[in-house]
């Protein structure tokens, strides 16, 4: 039991530590809906993984990255407004995933676990995926911090100053895709985006610089994981939703407490 909890805690912390800082970019660039779309499509990845009998994590990563690339291409063509496009893709991918899963007669999969996450089902391999993927994402985030931020602040200025804006935008989308694929096990496809944006939004209240906001977002995410797990252990609540409720509570506390006067 203790080992189970430790693995859950380790996995959750690994995911939250990466989802927080990346979530800051999702908030700044208003990519929440983009994250949702990728997350919803992850279920399709699970179904395909079972059907083709390949590693599930791999299937999800490949599908998310593929969808991110499709999105970038479609966005450039400007056939249809981006939010409409995302809405279409998000819900058709989710439905397609659910339909595909229903074809898997001989395999019983716990749909609830995929939709809402099951922290306690994290295995040793999952931990490798979380920390491997997490380290890569973190390293890229640190290495490309300035270009990423310059692009977020103003794409045209960044481009004129010589930053490779297109490549950086793609990098950010891929990072989000990888984090979603990795985080799916923890909080499920319906809740992943919340683990990215809620800690980041809470962190905004406490920060004066982008670095602060990204760091605090990671820390707040970790606190939410701890709180969620603790609640889940004590009251036998579902772990994924408990983590999100905990993150939402932190958000409420940060925004209702009187503001400490910042030095301005």
């Amino acid at each position: 039991m203790l080992e189970l909890l430790m693995r859950a805690l380790l996995g959750g912390l690994g995911v939250a530590a990466v989802a927080g800082p990346l979530g800051a970019f999702v908030v700044w660039r208003r990519m929440a809906y983009f994250g949702d779309t990728l997350a919803h499509s992850a279920l399709l990845g699970v179904a395909l993984g079972f059907l083709l009998d390949i590693n599930l994590n791999l299937a999800i990563v490949v599908l998310c990255v593929g969808l991110a690339l499709v999105l970038v291409t479609l966005q450039k063509k400007q056939i249809i407004a981006t939010d409409t496009l995302l809405g279409i893709l998000a819900h058709s991918a989710l439905s397609l995933g659910l339909v595909a899963v229903s074809f898997l007669d001989n395999i019983r999969i716990d749909l609830m676990a995929y939709l809402f996450g099951d922290l306690l089902a994290i295995g040793q391999t999952d931990l490798y995926w979380i920390y491997g993927g997490g380290l890569v994402v973190m390293a890229l985030l640190v290495a490309f911090w300035r270009p990423l931020l310059a692009m977020t602040v103003n794409e045209e200025l960044a481009k004129v100053e010589g930053y490779p804006v297109e490549a950086i935008r793609l990098l950010l989308m891929l990072l989000v895709a990888v984090v979603i694929a990795v985080a799916m096990k923890i909080v499920g496809v319906l809740l992943i985006t919340s683990l990215m944006i809620i800690p980041a939004a809470t962190s905004r209240k406490l920060s004066q610089t982008p670095v602060q906001m990204a760091t605090f977002a990671g820390i707040l995410g970790c606190l939410s994981v701890c709180g969620g797990l603790w609640a889940s252990y004590h009251w036998d609540t579902p772990t994924g939703p408990s983590v999100v409720v905990c993150a939402a509570l932190l958000f409420l506390i940060a925004y209702t407490l009187p503001t400490r006067k910042m030095a301005q």
Binding site: L149, V153, N154, V160, G162, A200, T209, Q264
Partner: protein
Amino acid sequence: MSTRLAELKDIGIRFGERQLLSNINITLHQGEIVTLIGPNGSGKSTLIRTLLDLQQPSSGKVVRHDTLRIGYMPQKLHIDPTLPLTVKHFLGLVRGVNKKQIAPTLAKVGIPHLENSQVHVLSGGETQRLLLARALLNQPNLLVLDEPVQGVDVNGQIELYNLIAAIRDELNCGVFMISHDLHLVMAQTDTVVCVNQHVCCSGSPQHVKDHPAYQALFGVPGADASLAIYSHQHDHVHDDSGEVVEEGHVHSKHCQHHSH
């Protein structure tokens, strides 16, 4: 003739069925201020974006000479309020910036006291100066300014134009900018290019002002009382614009663009 920095050659731009710009030829030189003027939707911003390589021309080409280094000031700065960012950090994002230059550059554009302020709380004029500082930090020999005085009151506009002219004198850089108001900018500009889908007329501010094509677009100068107030601003600078105000003209409808 001074060094050429960039040339727009026979530029044409189509958006689908619509020919936005055609046959535009402009050459930008070191030390010269070129002001682009034209009504809304005339393609001024698109032309600037073409020079910046943010927009591909449908025909013609942009020649950028080897020495060219552009400092760009966009029309507006929108930073999402969820992104906490101080002036210092904003300027630190310039690619390859020498951070020691940030404080002196802020002083140069007249906002040294705002270094640690959040960018969201700046006024219109302060934001424009911040953007100018960012353009300068790129160590440009050509400043490209898309409506640099946007959102600034008239006194502030004159100050900003004077500042831009002073920076040109100091750095001997070229300046290529968009303005809505020839009368405010004419004292500090060497060449005016009047654009409305094509180049209507170009030359010295005085030449353009008296040109029939310009007057057809913007009305007869001096006819509007609010313009007459400013027309004396530049009299003493440009000796050839002494005979500006001719009284008794009827205000043309085309002048409505002056109401901001």
